[in-house]
């Protein structure tokens, strides 16, 4: 039993995420999902762009947003995207410890991003900018909150995979899961690039 276990882990193929039909199907299906997510976020971006000046007498984008805080959030998410790449590279070297370490850093950064976002939303509510205060408010919280929901799902997903990894180790069954989770995390960061540009930076420009 333990003998066969050792053998599978040392003879892990170069790209374990694509070694099985199941792994290749996960890879393909996940990219189809990401293509669909692109359109879903586009509808939220379109709505936000259309409604961002309908403030109903409440605070405007220029009055609300603070660039330093958004910059910190952006750097946090960018670094976490890099650490999830490093996790997958560790996986390709058959280094489970490295994979767990870099995914752990990714999860920590994900939680700090969420903490910052919650602080930001609480601050906005104090300024009278809520989900129901204006069309701008509804569009803003739907778009940014939906992205925050993706971040929350991402950190919980990676955390569960890490716990499973302690038990199951790195095999051709678990490798596609790590690979797909890291794709998801990159996509979440990709969406944030457009949020900080379209929502925050363009909101400051006017």
């Amino acid at each position: 039993m333990s003998d066969t276990h050792v053998q599978t882990s040392t003879s892990l193929p170069p790209e374990p995420e694509k070694a099985t039909m199941e792994g290749r199907n996960k890879f393909l299906g996940f990219w189809l999902f990401l293509g669909a997510e692109t359109v879903l976020f586009a509808s939220l971006f379109g709505t936000y762009l259309g409604l961002r000046n309908s403030t109903n007498g409440g605070p405007t984008t220029q009055e609300l947003f603070s660039l330093p805080m958004v910059f910190v959030a952006t750097v946090i998410l960018l670094v976490s995207s890099l650490t999830s790449v490093l996790a997958i590279q560790a996986m390709h070297r058959n280094n489970m410890k490295g994979l767990q370490f870099w995914f752990g850093v990714t999860v920590l950064l994900g939680f700090s991003f969420l903490g910052l976002e919650i602080y930001e939303f609480v601050e906005y509510v104090h300024h009278g900018h809520t989900f129901t205060s204006s069309a701008f408010g509804s569009a803003f919280y739907t778009l940014v909150g939906f992205h925050g929901g993706h971040v929350l799902f991402g950190v919980l997903w990676i955390l569960v995979l890490q716990l499973q990894g302690i038990k199951k180790g790195l095999t051709v069954v678990t490798a596609p899961k790590y690979y797909v989770a890291s794709l998801y995390w990159h996509f979440v960061d990709l969406v944030w690039v457009f949020i900080f540009t379209v929502v925050y930076l363009m909101g400051k420009v006017g």
């Binding site: 379109g46 709505t47 762009l49 660039l67 960018l78 890099l82 390709h92 990159h186 379209v198 420009v205």
Partner: protein, 111 residues
């Protein structure tokens, strides 16, 4: 001789793994990260400074965002590698529908 053979056997899976992944070193990823940080700083600086005109800033920061998105997709998500024809098709269709969606919704609201 015998020990030689043994070391070679021990090392062969590792070296094969490395040949299959010679394009998988951390270098392109670290470069993409460095450039993404630079582009992020540029975008924030363009907005924070009063000297740059609004008419220039908005196309400029959107251009920077598109380049950063390309880094994510093609380098970090490996879309530049082979066996990625389907991901490319899915994402291109997604981006096409996304552009039509954004343009359509904005025109509907503003007209």
């Amino acid at each position: 001789m015998e020990t030689n053979l043994q070391t070679e056997m021990e090392h062969s899976p590792q070296s094969r793994r490395e040949t299959a992944h010679h394009n998988e070193g951390p270098k392109p990823h670290l470069w993409a990260f460095f450039l993404s940080i630079v582009f992020t700083i540029l975008a924030f600086a363009a907005v924070a400074s009063e000297a740059v005109s609004t008419a220039f800033t908005i196309p400029f920061i959107i251009f920077l965002a598109v380049v950063q998105a390309a880094f994510q997709l093609f380098i970090w998500m490996h879309m530049n590698q082979k066996d990625h024809e389907f991901p490319l098709t899915f994402m291109m269709s997604g981006v096409f529908a996304a552009v039509v969606t954004v343009a359509g919704i904005i025109l509907m609201i503003w007209w």
